[in-house]
């Protein structure tokens, strides 16, 4: 047995060394998570409008178009509302000037599975919130490492290492205020195809039909927790459903959409600091405004940012009058 153990350890030792080295080098590469966490650590007190949420805000709202308030885009791809809540909990004392939180929520999101149960493709980066934001996320211990979540996908990790250290290609795609810059309309994907893909993916990560109530309760409760933090701090929480392209919209069950919108409207009427607006089927967004059926392009982002900025000014004024 001793012989077996020694031989086995000798065999795996070079691998452990290699993997450890990869882990250390990989973490040293500046990425969007480390950038956003660092920005919040250093500038939280200056932020007046905080954009949270997933890729819809990350690609859809450019803080440069938000004129009256200091705005930062802390949204990111597949950043579920659970993560938004954890980020808020962590920085709520530092966000001393915060006036508005903006969160995008597509109707189907109300039915998404619990973050810890969702399929791998939908939460491949949970561990990064623990590593770079230092959030306390109560799931598997392996999520302390980059290497674990990349297990069996180390090729991607090796590519990132090569690109950064040998080819000197930066690994961030956010602007200096956190907006996702790489969804250019010139590179837009096939809207019909991505409509089908998105509908299928969103169906896959939703609670099954018989557990829809569970899904609604789970996702609504997270939104309510965010709104309550806003309430404590006198912050307005602006929820909105971003525009999506018709090729995706047509494939979604209308009943589910209306039900979800009903829940968002209920939050709007229940909490004085919560506003909900719906751009889900806003026809003013045309094909050029979309990068794919579910996301805006840089042109669409410009358009939506201006609209939301305008709406926020009006809403903010109302809210302040109400509070005072």
């Amino acid at each position: 047995m001793k012989k077996f153990n020694i031989k086995f350890l000798l065999c795996v030792l070079p691998l452990l060394v290699l993997l450890s080295l990869m882990e250390v080098l990989y973490r040293r590469i500046p990425n969007d998570y480390s950038f956003k966490a660092q920005y919040l650590n250093e500038h939280a007190g200056e932020i007046e409008t905080l954009l949270l949420g997933n890729s819809h805000n990350y690609y859809g709202l450019d803080p440069n178009y938000f004129h009256d308030y200091n705005t930062f885009n802390a949204a990111y791809i597949v950043q579920r509302t659970y993560m938004d809540l954890e980020i808020l909990k962590k920085y709520k004392n530092e966000l001393t000037n915060l006036k508005t939180i903006v969160i995008p929520i597509i109707p189907m999101e109300l039915y998404f599975q619990k973050i810890e149960d969702a399929p791998f493709f939908y939460n491949p980066s949970i561990h990064k919130y623990r590593i770079y934001y230092d959030l306390d996320i109560p799931w598997t211990y392996g999520d302390y490492f980059e290497i674990n979540s990349k297990m069996f996908l180390l090729r991607n990790m090796a590519n990132t290492l090569t690109n950064y250290y040998l080819r000197h290609i930066p690994q961030t795609s956010s602007s200096e205020l956190g907006w996702g810059t790489n969804f250019r309309w010139e590179d837009a994907r096939d809207l019909a195809l991505t409509g089908r893909e998105t509908a299928r993916q969103h169906e896959q990560i939703s609670f099954p039909e018989y557990e829809l109530e569970k899904g609604i309760a789970y996702n609504k409760q997270i939104l309510e927790s965010i709104i309550k933090i806003g309430q404590e701090k006198g912050v307005m929480v602006y929820l909105y459903s971003p525009p999506i392209y018709k090729s995706y919209r047509e494939l979604i069950d209308d009943e589910r959409v209306n039900r979800a919108i009903g829940v968002f409207q209920e939050l709007d009427s229940t909490y004085a600091n919560c506003v909900y607006e719906n751009y889900y089927d806003d026809e003013s967004f045309v094909s050029k405004d979309f990068y794919d059926a579910d996301h805006l392009s840089d042109l669409g982002a410009q358009k939506l940012s201006k609209i939301i900025d305008l709406r926020l000014r009006g809403r903010r004024k109302n809210f302040e009058e109400q509070v005072n």
Binding site: M1, F8, L15, F120, G142, F152, L153, R200
Partner: protein
């Protein structure tokens, strides 16, 4: 807990160290450790599943004890029926209840009567089809007097829940595995080394072969109408390779892990893709299940019926339909069973009398005739799997009609791209290694013994490198859903 997860990579070495270092002097304590770790392993999915397995274990243990005590045939029969009823009842309730209710409702609505029925939204416990069959075979074997009932509850519970093979087999017989829990186990260096090798090869099959195939299979099966006929045929072959890599990979890891703990499990796959006909194929594919059905369904039916052609056909049909249905509560599995029977039956009548060398005796490469027969069996099996993989019968029809459409000769090279070339290279490596190692229990068992240390270790590192760097997007083991 998944084999291809960091959880298992921590769990298994821990069990190994405690098992061999702290408890090696006591079989009883080793069995307790196996039982506890198996329950942790299984409860990792959902602790509620433990109640079921504990219940099934207790029922069959008690049935076994009483079968040992009673000589009266009527009483023994009652006990056997209790075991069958409990195990198949659990299986029916958790796996098939919803299916029967839905079909019942649909049948009535077809007749113009709308009835509603609560399907209870039952969750299917992982691995239930495997361990219920394992415990059931114990009771049947004790009833038939093939084995003596055990009085050691811990050993029996460890046999039922033995974590390496609990959730996806191999479905072990009590006659093989249970006695291994009673005798003293000593660490066998060669067995352990071979176990590690088998685990690596299993991981390679799962992570590099199956998960990489899955990417294209999902794409092609999701929208068959978008692809040409040849692409769809290739899609069905990739699915066959995926399911083989996935399932036999799981079996390899299970058998390898058991070997490290000093247990010998039965071979579950014997290189089925090199079979020259379907008879041979089914002797090599999911051996633990096919032999289970042979011993507990087919042979009793043959004994009870007349030995004529009609009863053989009938029994074969029943056998394949039941084994198809075992895979899941969906008409697709039943139809797949039927298709498999129809592919197998002609061989019963038109048995090729020409002598053909056995797979293990073959040379460096197959002869042309052998290759053609192998290819025929593989392609027909792949096509039959379209029904297995389809979400519904309608979906399967869509797939076949897309194959037979005007674009039959079209091959959509575009969807494969550069990664497709890499996958083709992996498949070449995979089939070459499997062919070269086909005379062993697993591909690497005998193959590597001929190699020098440098070549052998280079190969190990190459395989590990591929597992770590070229795995596909992690997918659940397909057979977990059964």
């Amino acid at each position: 807990m998944l084999f291809n997860s960091i959880d298992f990579a921590i769990f298994f070495p821990l069990v190994y160290l405690i098992y061999w270092y702290l408890l090696k002097k006591s079989v009883k304590r080793q069995n307790i450790l196996i039982l506890v770790s198996s329950y942790i392993f299984y409860g990792w999915w959902d602790w509620r599943f433990l109640i079921l397995i504990a219940f099934s274990t207790l029922v069959d243990f008690i049935v076994g004890i009483y079968l040992g005590r009673f000589q009266n045939l009527a009483k023994r029969k009652v006990l056997l029926y209790v075991s069958i009823l409990v195990n198949l009842g659990l299986l029916f309730y958790f796996k098939y209840y919803g299916f029967f209710v839905e079909n019942f409702v649909e049948a009535f609505s077809f007749l113009g009567k709308n009835i509603s029925f609560d399907t209870l939204n039952i969750i299917l416990p992982v691995g239930i089809s495997f361990y219920t069959f394992q415990t059931l075979s114990y009771s049947i074997d004790v009833y038939k007097g093939k084995i003596q009932p055990t009085k050691d509850l811990v050993a029996f519970a460890a046999f039922v829940s033995f974590f390496p093979q609990l959730v996806a087999g191999p479905i072990e017989r009590a006659s093989n595995l249970l006695p291994q829990f009673s005798k003293k186990r000593s660490f066998d260096y060669h067995l352990a080394v071979d176990g590690v090798r088998q685990i690596f090869w299993g991981l390679f099959k799962k992570v590099v072969i199956a998960d990489n195939c899955a990417r294209y299979v999902n794409l092609i099966f999701d929208q068959p109408e978008n692809y040409g006929g040849i692409t769809l045929i290739v899609g069905s072959m990739l699915f066959a390779i995926q399911i083989y890599g996935d399932f036999s990979g799981y079996s390899d890891i299970a058998i390898g892990a058991a070997r490290i703990l000093g247990f010998n499990l039965k071979q579950n796959f014997a290189f089925p893709f090199f079979s020259k006909d379907f008879g041979e194929f089914w002797r090599r594919w999911h051996i633990s299940l096919t032999t289970w059905f042979r011993d507990y369904v087919y042979i009793p039916m043959m004994v009870a019926s007349k030995m004529n052609l009609r009863s053989i056909v009938f029994n074969v049909l029943v056998l394949f339909l039941v084994s198809g249905f075992w895979h899941g509560a969906n008409w697709t599995f039943i139809v797949w069973g039927l298709v498999s029977a129809l592919l197998y039956l002609p061989e019963v009548f038109l048995k090729d009398k020409r002598r053909s060398r056995s797979l293990e005796d073959g040379g460096l490469h197959p002869r042309i005739r052998e290759f053609l027969l192998i290819f025929r069996t593989f392609s027909l099996f792949s096509l039959s799997l379209v029904v297995f993989r389809a979400q519904s019968i309608n979906h399967a029809f869509q797939y076949f009609s897309a194959i037979l459409s005007d674009s039959f000769l079209r091959f959509d090279l575009g969807i494969f791209g550069r990664n497709g070339v890499i996958l083709a290279a992996f498949l070449l490596l995979f089939f070459t290694v499997e062919w070269s190692g086909r005379n062993g229990q697993h591909a690497l068992e005998k193959l590597l013994l001929k190699w020098g240390i440098f070549k052998r270790y280079s190969f190990y590192y190459f395989i590990i490198f591929l597992i770590l760097f070229y795995g596909g997007i992690p997918q659940d083991f397909i057979y977990f859903q059964f």
